[in-house]
């Protein structure tokens, strides 16, 4: 599978160095290695969801408990989680570290992913969610650390878009 194992490991190591203890996830092609690494890590609580919006509740519960968490999802999963983001995370000032695979952009071959790609960034802006990109191995660790720091200090959702350049090897 041409998903980059090396860069998945890089992302996972960065999450661990931020102290992430709980990871909620819904599988998608680009996230397979990340989810498998989390599954194999006895120190990580991996919660496989039925729908991404559940992850907002999971992260809120973890935050109340004093545990650090992150969410792994596809951009269509982000669309499915929006009510929870607005009416829980924004309403109650809950920090969310959202790692979102950015499907449906330049280079996308799957027709079914293309509409989600068009609306991801406009929606993040409309929701006033700070976001950045994971697009090169050398900046992954720093970006994840900075995103986590901002989520924790501002008590709000922060998004990192996982790009094709980082996740896919062709």
């Amino acid at each position: 599978m041409p998903v980059s194992l090396e860069n998945s490991q890089l992302i996972y190591r960065a999450l661990k160095s931020c102290g992430i203890q709980l990871l909620s996830a819904l599988p998608e092609t680009w996230l397979v290695h990340l989810i498998q690494i989390a599954e194999d890590d006895p120190q990580m609580t991996l919660v496989r969801l039925a729908k991404e919006e559940e992850g907002v509740g999971l992260s809120a519960g973890a935050h109340f408990a004093g545990a650090k968490s992150a969410m792994l999802m596809q951009n269509h999963g982000f669309l499915a989680a929006i009510n929870g983001i607005v009416s829980f995370a924004h309403l109650y000032k809950i920090p969310l570290l959202m790692l979102i695979s950015y499907r449906g952009t330049f280079g996308e071959r799957d027709p079914w992913q293309t509409q989600g790609g068009n609306v991801t960034e406009p929606l993040l802006r409309a929701l006033n969610i700070p976001y950045s990109f994971l697009d090169a191995p050398e900046s992954v660790e720093k970006r994840i650390r900075q995103a986590h720091t901002l989520a924790e200090s501002s008590l709000q959702p922060v998004a990192l878009l996982l790009t094709r350049d980082l996740m896919w090897v062709e």
Partner: protein, 192 residues
């Protein structure tokens, strides 16, 4: 059976639990009995009370977590039952007050009024222990057993579709949220 009578019957038993409720009539009734710092009222995001309870229960395995859910909320997030069942936290008690109605928005009937059985759905999702109760005595008995015991359980309480006249209380949402987190911090590693 009235939900308020159910809440009154178990109110003393909730003293040491982390309690997460849905929005609307239920938190207004619970607050009418007396707010406590270990109660968190999720006043929106319908469906996510059970997910929040799961996040708490997995992160704090030594603490008892009680979710006070409703039929309308649970129907919006039925997948949550499969996620709870997948991880089966021993310290999570999931109570569903089923009044067959979206009472807080004017009393529109939910699917449980036309035969949907939430206990059967919970059981089929893999929740190891489930029951349905329709008297306050039975409700108090099964809740007490669950709180003092171990194991994930869903209790469906069939209640009348009545509630208080107003749902807004003088407890601010953020005040509640920060107080709840501080309460948990104060527990540190004290066992339950």
């Amino acid at each position: 059976m009235l939900r308020l009578d159910c809440l009154r019957a178990i109110y003393p038993d909730l003293e040491k639990s982390l309690v997460v409720t849905i929005m609307g009539a239920l938190p207004a009734e619970l607050q009418s009995l007396g707010h406590r710092p270990n109660f968190f009222y999720l006043q929106h995001a319908m469906g996510l009370a059970s997910s929040t309870g799961l996040g708490l229960a997995l992160s704090l395995p030594q603490q008892r977590v009680v979710v006070l859910d409703g039929d309308g909320s649970l129907l919006m997030n039925l997948g949550s039952l499969s996620t709870l069942a997948r991880y089966k936290p021993k310290n999570l008690l999931h109570i569903v007050f089923d009044n067959e109605s979206l009472l807080s928005v004017g009393g529109f009937p939910t699917a449980t009024s036309t035969g949907t059985d939430l206990e059967a759905i919970a059981r089929a999702a893999g929740i190891p222990k489930t029951c349905t109760v329709s008297t306050v005595e039975d409700f108090a008995t099964v809740v007490r057993e669950a709180i003092s015991g171990e194991g994930l359980q869903t209790i469906v309480a069939k209640v009348e579709a009545t509630g208080p006249k107003a749902f807004v209380t003088d407890l601010g949402l953020l005040e509640n949220r920060f107080q709840f987190r501080r309460y948990i911090q104060s527990l540190a590693s004290k066992p339950r």
